[in-house]
Symmetry: C2
Subunit: 409 residues, 2 copies
């Protein structure tokens, strides 16, 4: 079909299409359950953090100028006014030539602008200390608002909350946090040859692997999978399940359809949805070329290849950024690739991006990437794989010992 | 205390102690919920995968020998016996000079040992094809058991299930899977100065940040956190909460106790537990030196520093491998470090391992690691950080432009 030919797109062209999908709405969750969720509103503290200047050391709160020039040979002598009790506002002012005992975390008394570490002092008597080292203004003190200032954005919307952001939200007193809902991703398996995993496959049949592997990948990138089971290879069955899934979910993955007939049903069923446009019919990657992307009502609806290997590569490389966009992430998760040396030559066709599964081993502190070449229907190459090596669209292959960047899987 | 002095240990010495803790028991979960869990029993298929030889291409099942020597100029002529219907056992045998139509995934008929791709054939008439290329025995065929052979270990116990292992379990028909229970990790906050996050901290007080950041890290490495709230700085209160937590949980983290007095309470409370031994009192790392590890009834009980920064470094570097061991992982998760260039000199003291927070940026395809130097009480350095750089125990520091390995946080 001429029309379809023009819908074969590069991975980069497909990636841009994610901006056409709608983000999920937000919800409020207790902070204790917020880890890993995507922040839906910027966090702007209503108070300074810390709320007052505090000491970072056990020692003496002083005016820094009182210590200028102090040394072992020529100590400064300071009058001790008393102690800053933890949990209390000091009721005295530290003047020039004066000091107050303070513990780590204690509130700096009025007048004081630095803390002398206890190690750099000695008691002369109950009311006098010697100081052996000068301290600069601000030394061993965290100023009010030095960590986070009130009314300034502390965390932007659209980031995924790690342990440290969770800690910051606690420090700012947020018992609840507004995050994006986790996108619900519908998964439909197609194919007359596909049987439920509880069933022993007959000749020419295979168990429904992709409902499980796709669901796991959806979870891994922060979505919630909803499986719709196995749908027979006919337009009516697929169309009715697809309509339901597109209605109930934020995105739909139709898995299967490696054969041309099933692909046609998928296209037909997608086309029959109201206001659905087929945007992509084929992506210049391998494995995973026969991938379909349609858009309806701001939702992405995918036709994925049936082989677990192809489906997994397409999911990682193509689908995941769409789920992350729907999930509210301001930018796709940075894929941190690991440099490794290739253990053998790899051939590749020009005009497409190839993804090769590799196993990583370490030798002399360097990572080696061993390509796992196997028939594409085999699961064991995926299970043995630690990552994927991308071979660029213009490369004819990669030489042994090349430095490659490995994307963990 | 002399006794304690000898309990200062290196990170490597502490890591070895994890073998002294007990692993959690196992439980059975539906496969759909198994992603990310740790396999508790080896998976040994009771059937071959695939269960029968199948074609990986659309084409003709043949005896490979029938095609030897075939070329465009001198094709082989084969008699077509019929078609292999999907989902059926072929009821004929393919002999020398014969062929049967077969689709991708179809079961190879008796006699056939290879598949000729349809592209390399042409129909002469209804019962005869020309073959233009020879195929080797096994060509375009997946043998029975080629992916996974029955009665051989397909997955060992002690691995974390990724999407691909989940897919394999589905392919083998496992509707349920036996995994280790997720370790329950108790978190106790100590310190008279610590207030619940719902409360506005008074002078010298701080909100209970660590209950939240530690809980998030426990979740991130596969455990379940159980928080016990804030316990006052006295032996009886800490001892009674600790007794309860050690009884209910698989591991306990006591957070806080940066001051010497609180550390003493922690040691006292730990020592008062039946059969509890203090194994570590101080680790030669920075931040995080004043860390305590005790062991009772096969459970690790930790006294962690109170600063969020120190607590987080100790958790990542020291505690996490203990949780993963308790969780049943056969080996700690491989920490994949990213190579990056340091943007400035870093000083370090010999005799301890330093961990410096860095922000990663990309420049000309290379990662730059910018150290985030800040007072250790500040949360913003952690929030801005993408990773940690380790400075070895024997190094006096690192020069600008050094290649460093960054551990993502």
């Amino acid at each position: 079909m001429m029309e379809d030919f023009f819908k074969v797109k590069s991975p980069a062209e497909v990636a841009e299409l994610r901006h056409g999908i709608t983000r999920v709405e937000s919800e409020t969750v207790p902070l204790a359950e917020a880890w890993g969720r995507v922040l839906a509103e910027a966090v702007v503290p209503g108070e300074d953090l810390p709320p007052f200047a505090r000491s970072t050391m056990d020692g003496f709160a002083v005016q820094a100028a009182s210590t200028f020039g102090a040394s072992e040979g020529s100590p400064a002598y300071l009058e001790v006014l008393g102690s800053v009790a933890m949990g209390e506002v000091p009721d005295f002012t530290v003047g020039n030539g004066q000091a107050a005992r303070i513990s780590t975390g204690g509130m700096l008394p009025r007048g004081a602008d630095a803390v002398v570490m206890i190690e750099h002092t000695a008691a002369v008597d109950d009311t006098m200390i010697e100081v052996y080292r000068s301290v600069a203004p601000g030394g061993h003190v965290i100023r009010a608002g030095e960590d986070y200032a009130r009314d300034q954005v502390a965390l932007p919307a659209g980031i995924r909350l790690r342990a440290q952001e969770t800690g910051l939200l606690a420090a700012l007193g947020n018992e609840e946090v507004t995050v994006y809902r986790r996108p619900l991703v519908g998964i439909i398996s197609t194919g007359d040859e596909v049987v439920p995993i509880s069933r022993r496959p007959g000749p020419g049949q295979i168990r429904d692997v992709n409902s499980y592997s796709l669901a796991a990948m959806v979870r891994a990138c922060g979505g919630r999978p909803k499986t719709y089971g196995i749908v027979a290879d006919n337009f009516d069955a697929l169309s009715s399940t697809l309509t339901r899934a597109a209605d109930e979910c934020d995105m739909v993955l139709i898995s299967g359809g490696s054969s041309v007939g099933v692909r046609d049903f998928t296209i037909e069923a997608l086309s029959s949805l109201p206001d659905c446009r087929i945007l992509v019919h084929g992506i210049s990657i391998s494995p995973g070329k026969p991938t379909i992307l349609a858009m309806a009502g701001g939702k992405a609806l995918w036709g994925l290849p049936g082989h677990i290997t192809s489906a997994m590569v397409v999911f990682r490389v193509i689908v995941q950024p769409f789920i992350e966009h729907a999930a509210g992430l301001a930018r796709p998760t940075a894929v941190r690739r690991l440099p490794a040396r290739l253990t053998r030559n790899l051939a590749s066709a020009q005009g497409r991006v190839d993804y090769v599964r590799v196993r990583l081993t370490e030798k002399n502190g360097e990572l080696l990437a061993e390509p796992l070449l196997g028939k594409s229907g085999l699961i064991n190459t995926l299970v043995r794989a630690d990552g994927l090596v991308e071979i660029d669209v213009n490369a004819e292959g990669l030489d042994r010992d090349s430095l490659v960047m490995v994307r963990p899987v």
